[in-house]
């Protein structure tokens, strides 16, 4: 994986010094909260419901054991012994003290990490496919491109006070595991005449007004990537709406201008920007790509697996996916135990995952947008030993992509924007559907829960989505069906009137019962829903 050179290190070290200076001025009263807020947000520091919250960037979700261990150290030393992995492949800490924040950033910088631009109206952490570099179906590793974008977007002087936040994802396979088209810019690496380039989708997103990004260009060559991205951003920075926070994302601009007009403006800007010398030479992509070469796989590793342990067998069947290298596997560590808090991990669990990455996965881990951890390069002959250690630490739920592998935002338990709690709902659903046989019978079922309309829990993209709302001071939950964040991207629709907590879980059960009754052959829930349509599900729920 990528390693900082002296320049990268100097940038993050300088950022620590800068933020230390800013915090001192805030504590001394030289900065008002209004003035300090955008500065701390651009360092990932929020003032949340109970305390300051720090969001640490995990660029494209990739990190090594040493970095992971540092995340555990921060949880222990500065927080309350746990962290929360997020849908942006980052980690956040809920109980941070402002006076500690500069020291935390210094600790992060010591392992080539930072919290730069994990919040604020700027270009956020670049996300990617959690299986990058390991997936059997990718045409290239998307992460060198993501790293080019990370560096370009870091401290970008023109694009740090955008109308609203800006999220970019990069993938390199037809299967989309990163919700690419639900980003402000989604990039898919493609081949054209043997040359690798970027297909651009612009104007997707969730939030109040969910939209699927339309394709605006089918191919941008590597040595024009940055000027094309600059063009997309400049049109947005100039013309994105600033009169209404809820209409300020680029999706609204693309929608209001129309895809054609937005594209025309970008192309015009691009024609101008191409001449400005903004693009790193191809040697820079080559330099970065060197860091993403395959690890030293053993050429003749065996594909044989002893599956005589039934629990191990279930875990392998559910949580292991194909690796490009024979004899190896991609293993997902589910952070969704029954009754657990989706995405939370204790410092001891974080440390253990760091150890296991070093021992079994060439010192690499990934964070997924569904709030799980991946060990990307595990020798199949090591899987059983790995599983035993995970299982002993409560890290081996065999539920990847099943109904209990839910995404949930922090909700009203932690978030000052939330209208309802999300986590208790995820917990109760995991209890209602705790029987693994029942979950497996239901098959792939993406359940996504948001505690408010901002959609951090991706409810629009759930096969089943839940949106928490405030109804006259009490928590109320709307049910949505039919969304997908994968390559068959679709937006879920609300079934009808909302429910209380128990009511919405009953409704989910009604919906899944109908699916089991209606499904043909090996249809997934989403397939049956699309074939049968909303009306039948509505009828079953509301009569």
């Amino acid at each position: 994986m990528y390693q900082y050179d002296k320049y990268d290190q100097q940038m993050v070290d300088t950022r620590v010094a800068e933020f230390r200076d800013q915090v001192e001025r805030r504590l001394a009263g030289e900065l008002t909260e209004d003035q300090f807020k955008p500065l701390r947000l651009m360092n990932g520091l929020y003032l949340q419901l109970h305390a300051y919250m720090l969001r640490v960037a995990i660029p494209y979700g990739t990190l090594n054991g040493k970095q992971m261990r540092m995340l555990g150290h921060i949880a222990r030393k500065y927080d309350r012994d746990y962290g929360h992995f997020t849908t942006r492949q980052n980690i956040q800490y809920n109980w941070i003290k402002l006076e500690d924040a500069p020291d935390i950033l210094a600790d992060l910088a010591s392992v080539e990490m930072h919290a730069i631009q994990t919040s604020g109206n700027c270009i956020r952490n670049i996300s990617s496919d959690q299986y990058a570099g390991a997936a059997a179906d990718e045409i290239a590793d998307p992460r060198p491109w993501a790293e080019i974008l990370r560096q370009w977007s870091s401290f970008h002087p023109e694009f740090s006070y955008l109308p609203r936040k800006f999220k970019i994802a990069v993938i390199a396979s037809d299967e989309d595991r990163a919700a690419m088209r639900l980003h402000d810019i989604g990039i898919q690496l493609v081949l054209k005449d043997g040359q690798l380039g970027a297909k651009f989708f612009v104007g997707g997103g969730m939030g109040r007004t969910p939209m699927i990004a339309p394709e605006i260009r089918d191919f941008v060559p590597a040595d024009e990537l940055i000027s094309y991205a600059e063009a997309c951003l400049r049109v947005y920075n100039r013309y994105g709406r600033r009169d209404n926070k809820y209409k300020a994302r680029i999706k609204i601009l693309v929608h209001e201008l129309g895809q054609e007009e937005y594209t025309r403006q970008v192309e015009e800007e691009f024609a101008h920007m191409k001449k400005l010398g903004l693009n790193p030479p191809v040697e820079e992509l080559a330099r970065i790509s060197e860091y993403f070469q395959d690890p030293a796989f053993i050429a003749d590793a065996s594909d044989e697996l002893d599956l005589s342990d039934p629990d191990f067998n279930l875990w392998v069947d559910q949580n292991i996916v194909a690796h490009k290298q024979p004899g190896y596997a991609i293993a997902t560590i589910s952070l969704k135990p029954t009754s657990g808090i989706p995405g939370d991990a204790s410092s001891a669990q974080i440390d253990l995952m760091a150890d296991l990455a070093e021992q079994y996965s060439f010192d690499e881990l990934r964070v997924t947008h569904s709030q799980n951890i991946v060990l990307p390069h595990v020798k199949k002959s090591d899987l059983y030993a790995l599983w035993q250690k995970l299982d002993a630490a409560g890290l081996a739920p065999a539920n990847l992509d099943l109904i209990t592998d839910s995404i949930a935002c922090p909700g009203l338990d932690y978030c000052s924007l939330a209208n309802a709690r999300s986590i208790p709902l995820a917990q109760k659903i995991s209890e209602r559907f705790a029987d693994l046989g029942r979950q497996r019978e239901l098959g792939e079922l993406k359940l996504k829960i948001s505690g408010c309309i901002n959609a951090c829990g991706h409810h629009h993209a759930g096969h089943i989505g839940i949106l928490g709302v405030d109804r006259k001071g009490t928590e109320n939950y709307q049910l949505l069906l039919g969304g997908s964040a994968a390559e068959d991207t679709s937006l879920a629709k609300i079934t009808g009137p909302g429910f209380d907590e128990d009511g919405v879980i009953d409704a989910i059960e009604t919906v899944t019962d109908l699916y089991l009754k209606e499904r043909q052959e090996d249809e997934r829930f989403i397939d049956t829903y699309r074939r049968v349509g909303m009306a039948a599900f509505k009828e079953a729920i509301y009569g």
Binding site: L47, L49, H50, A51, R80, K97, I341, L412, D413, G473
Partner: protein, 98 residues
């Protein structure tokens, strides 16, 4: 009744106005009536509290109870982690929130 709340500038802790100082415990909050703007301004300017604001609450036998669930969650802590709330030993504390 109206009570005042905010966060401690340095630690981020949720705090409540006691009439003379800021306490972590909502039970210590006092009714400020309608004349709270001056207190908010003065206390924020002195950096005794960060982004303070007034909320509605009702007086109960156990002290003030914020009218809105969000402020009750702030007063107690996350309902999904009773061990991290201000009342880790009280199994019914979560019911006070809901």
């Amino acid at each position: 009744m109206k009570i005042l709340t905010g966060n401690d500038l340095k630690t981020g802790d949720v705090t409540w106005w006691t009439g003379s100082d800021w306490s972590r415990h909502v039970e210590d909050a006092v009714d400020v009536g309608d004349n709270f703007e001056a207190i908010l301004q003065q206390e924020e300017a002195a950096r005794h509290v960060n982004v303070p604001y007034a909320i509605d609450a009702e007086m109960t036998e156990n002290g003030p109870r914020p009218a809105h669930i969000k402020d009750r969650v702030r007063a107690l802590g996350p309902t999904v982690r009773p061990d991290l709330t201000l009342k880790p030993a009280d199994p019914d504390a979560g019911n006070w929130v809901i």
